[in-house]
């Protein structure tokens, strides 16, 4: 775009737009642009783009920071040293130390790359999709009925490649309807369905995850909502009607059972 013989390089035009040009070149570039309308038009377009991006997203920085990003809360919730980690916010154990290496940009990149990927979003999407598909089933919501819990545990543990522990939610008034095998992100996934006295249904979706551990997440769409987390490379997604309090209660009960019993630990 720029005449190679000209004293102004393309990079300088970008720096001009971005305010990163040394003061002594600014005037020269401005003068040069006055003589080169085509490049001046490009520069104007880049400026307009930058302005549009700032207009569009700049205000995000002025929004109130959501509670879940509150550092005191993150630290408090993840800092339960010694005892069991609090259910609400689990974080990756520091595998990071192993990746420490000298060099500045190098180690920065490695620290972050070595850390766990955030892949619960897509697993949650799968789980919600399965939930929406099967909770409406009247006659065939599951493959194996809840009365065959032992058989189901054995079968799905084998298919998923790690020990399944099917939570008991009777204390919350939820009966185990049964379970089924589903395709998951890295092979097989399992879905367990529970039903309350008024017919409301919750599902627990289990699959191997890419990430070692993640924080607990809440998602909702119009009809259903889900809590999801990854613990020791096992993903758990609890889906149900979009009633956050009830879902939180159910998720908490499930978390406590799968954690205490060590589900997902490849023992």
């Amino acid at each position: 775009m720029i005449d190679p013989n000209s004293p102004v390089h393309d990079d300088e035009l970008h720096a001009f737009v971005d305010g990163q040009l040394p003061a002594d070149r600014r005037e020269a570039v401005a003068a040069w642009l006055a003589e080169h309308p085509e490049q001046a038009a490009a520069v104007a377009a880049w400026r307009a783009q930058a302005e549009a991006i700032r207009m569009r997203f700049g205000a995000v920085a002025d929004e109130t920071v959501p509670e879940r990003l509150d550092l005191d809360r993150l630290v408090h919730d993840s800092g339960g040293r010694g005892g069991r980690r609090p259910w609400w916010t689990m974080v990756a154990a520091a595998v990071i130390a192993a990746f420490f290496a000298g060099g500045s940009a190098g180690w920065m990149a490695r620290v972050a790359t070595a850390a766990a990927p955030s892949s619960t979003g897509s697993i949650t999407a799968d789980a919600l999709e399965a939930h929406a598909l099967y909770v409406v089933e009247v006659r065939h919501p599951v493959e194996v009925p809840g009365s065959e819990r032992d058989h189901m545990t054995q079968w799905l543990s084998k298919r998923l490649g790690y020990q399944q522990r099917i939570p008991d939610l009777q204390p919350l008034g939820l009966k185990l309807v049964g379970g089924r095998l589903l395709p998951g992100p890295t092979g097989a996934a399992a879905m367990y369905m529970y039903e309350g006295p008024s017919g409301e249904r919750f599902t627990l979706y289990c699959a191997k995850a890419m990430s070692p551990e993640t924080a607990m997440r809440f998602r909702s769409d119009k009809r259903y909502a889900a809590f999801s987390w990854v613990d020791d490379k096992a993903a758990f997604v609890v889906s149900g009607p979009a009633d956050r309090d009830r879902l939180e209660q159910v998720s908490k009960a499930i978390y406590e059972q799968v954690d205490r019993s060590g589900a997902g630990r490849k023992s």
Binding site: H14, I53, R68, A97, S122, A125, M210
Partner: protein
């Protein structure tokens, strides 16, 4: 002097802005920020001075790439929620055009453009965040700007959301 935590805290608004523009999805963006914060707090012992802001941007950028990589290995799924719909189809004039234009960019180009124009990082800092030489940052920036321009100048096909 501000403690490490206070310094981390001070980066949150900017991280949210960068994440929102990167993903154009509010929930996803805050998930990324949350993971970034946890990672940073856990890794304090690895932070040996230098520019904390750049370090935070580095972590967030890499977490986002990991996320995209794991999505890429899988068949496309429709987004699970509509939370991002207002972002793309909002009534605010040119806003939706620039958001769509960003969606057409290659990830590395989008990162470079946003770090420069939205976050105000120097080219050198962007090079550090992306782990590449400055020349690569310049060419990413140039290609990003050319692509955005041609998108905005050209036809505006109905864009399916690129995750």
């Amino acid at each position: 002097m501000a403690t490490f935590r206070q310094q981390v805290e001070a980066t949150i608004p900017a991280l949210r802005r960068y994440a929102r523009a990167l993903t154009r999805d509010r929930d996803l963006a805050d998930d990324l920020v949350q993971d970034t914060l946890l990672r940073a707090l856990r890794s304090e012992h690895l932070f040996h001075g230098g520019d904390l802001r750049s370090w935070m941007y580095t972590i967030l950028t890499n977490l986002n790439r990991n996320r995209l990589r794991s999505l890429a290995r899988r068949p496309a799924l429709s987004p699970i929620d509509d939370n991002d719909a207002p972002d793309l189809a909002g009534p605010e004039g040119g806003g939706r055009d620039i958001a769509r234009a960003l969606a057409t960019l290659v990830d590395e180009q989008r990162e470079a453009l946003l770090l420069v124009v939205l976050e105000g990082l120097s080219y050198r800092e962007v090079a550090e965040v992306q782990g590449v030489p400055i020349g690569t940052v310049m060419s990413r920036l140039a290609r990003a700007r050319a692509q955005v321009k041609s998108y905005l100048d050209g036809e505006r096909p109905a864009l399916r959301r690129v995750k």
